[in-house]
Symmetry: C2
Subunit: 307 residues, 2 copies
């Protein structure tokens, strides 16, 4: 078992990924501009923001948001503004995580990191700017009941503050997570799990007709998916291909980071990934008993991805 890649251990929807949704996200992101006509002199900052935003990738978070809208029987395009906000926020977190004072990474998706390309001061501001523009974009562009939009934006803010992404990054860089498997799980639930979860919860919160039972069922799915994402991420940092990853693998070990592999060993981490994948599929079946083809595809993709 220990030599099996996750790809070979479970029945799958194959390599399918909802590429139509990804293309829709990509087109939407490419059209985004941030500086108003009256704001002069900031082209260099906007360039740094778009350089990092348009570096490609699977766009898992916005694609999850669109797929969740479809699972609810709605038009995926309805949630494009909040989907884009999720990707802006993810991009901001990568820029700040790569900074010299943090993980000090030179490469991201095969290209120089933002601070290597534009300087450290511009990179800090590009991250800050992307976070601000994420909120501005969804508050200006997202259609829906005002109370529902408020709930969704509240989820965005909560998922990215001290009880979410920023808190998790602190636990990571300050080596401050509690000991043991629960501590590791807590670190990752905050650092990556909350934003993955928000990608599923925001479209639900935008739909005021969904009851609390549906919301709870999707939250279980979201939590399990976040765990799965992180276990596979940790495995890929050890066994991944540099070219496919677009960065140097082994950086977790170099930085002395706590991962599922350092905590449990590679073999057990793979077993945990398989368990988590089964758990996520079961939770999805409960949340969307009528089927949710794209969410199932993304769940399988997150399990079987090689980069």
């Amino acid at each position: 078992m220990s030599t099996d890649a996750p790809a070979e251990t479970a029945p799958m929807s194959g390599d399918a990924y909802p590429d139509d949704l990804r293309r829709e996200v990509e087109r939407y992101l490419e059209r985004l501009t941030f500086a108003d006509a009256a704001t002069t002199g900031v082209a260099g900052l906007e360039e740094a923001m778009r350089y990092s935003l348009l570096a490609g990738g699977k766009r898992i978070r916005p694609v999850l948001a669109l797929a969740t809208a479809r699972a609810l029987g709605r038009d995926a395009a309805e949630v494009l503004p909040i989907a884009a906000a999720l990707e802006l926020i993810h991009t901001y977190s990568l820029i700040h995580d790569d900074l010299p004072a943090m993980d000090d990474d030179d490469l991201r998706r095969g290209r120089p990191t933002c601070h290597r390309a534009f300087g450290e001061n511009v990179a800090i501001l590009a991250g800050d700017g992307l976070y601000a523009e994420a909120f501005r974009h969804v508050l200006e562009q997202q259609r829906g009941e005002p109370a529902a939009i408020l709930a969704a934006v509240r989820e965005l803010a909560s998922a990215t503050g001290i009880n979410g992404m920023v808190g998790g990054q602190y636990l990571d860089v300050a080596h401050a997570a509690p000991e043991g498997a629960d501590g590791l799980r807590h670190l990752h639930a905050l650092k990556t799990g909350r934003l993955i979860g928000a990608s599923i919860m925001c479209p639900l919160l935008l739909d005021p007709t969904r009851g609390p039972a549906t919301i709870d069922a999707f939250r279980s799915f979201a939590n399990e998916l976040g765990v799965l994402f992180q276990i596979v991420d940790d495995i890929l940092d050890v066994v991944g291909d540099d070219d496919a990853l677009g960065k140097t693998h082994g950086s977790d070990e170099r930085l002395g980071k706590r991962t599922y592999v350092s905590e449990f060993g590679l073999e057990r981490a793979r077993e945990l990934a398989a368990e988590s994948h089964r758990g996520a599929r079961a939770a999805l079946a409960k949340a969307a008993p009528g089927g949710a083809a794209e969410l199932a595809q993304i769940t399988d993709f997150i399990y079987t991805r090689t980069s």
Copy 2:
């Protein structure tokens, strides 16, 4: 005229500052905590956030928000959540501005800057965390019509992104502002003016009974007040007392920054401050014909302050 301090050049409400409002803000900020009970291990991050937030100061932005609520005939306490968010955002901007890659300041309000006290990685995250918690706090705590809250939070996001605070900071550190007096004014309108303006506009937007004429009149006042604030700030960096400022004066010159003093000389900068003060008082008289005692006091204070 060139030896006159701003304090001596115009009729004033004296040294009055609405200290009752400041105390109300201070008490509210002191009670704020950010980590939920279920979030473990982040005490060190929360400490860094509160260290910077509770460093004292006149709390001009939240006091402006409370004073604006009073000028509209409402209870100042109604807008405490968004007033606190303004101060959290201001604090985040100071932490990031002080970083080694930015202004590289060691002291802020007489104490070590956040990165000197807690390390650069924690300081970056403390800033990021304060910004996220600002949005979360107002979205969870601010009472009002959902559409009005959305409008106010939209103003917060817009005022702090590439068309506001972050864009202005970029113009400053990248020396990217257009040439001449208009370029300088544009830099400061973004860097400090928009958040000063938001402190006045947010309480207005939270009150859905105000018409567009009132909003326009207050916006004129807010714009003029932002300009006044910055001119005086630039003068104080040259003539200020280190102990009163809590930082080393002359840092603008050391960093080669463009200021009203470097652009116009000290004497003309003082004249511009006096003109701007008169303009702000006139705009306020139009916006609040029934009187707005606290806003008038703050306007005078911003003009006559010595730190």
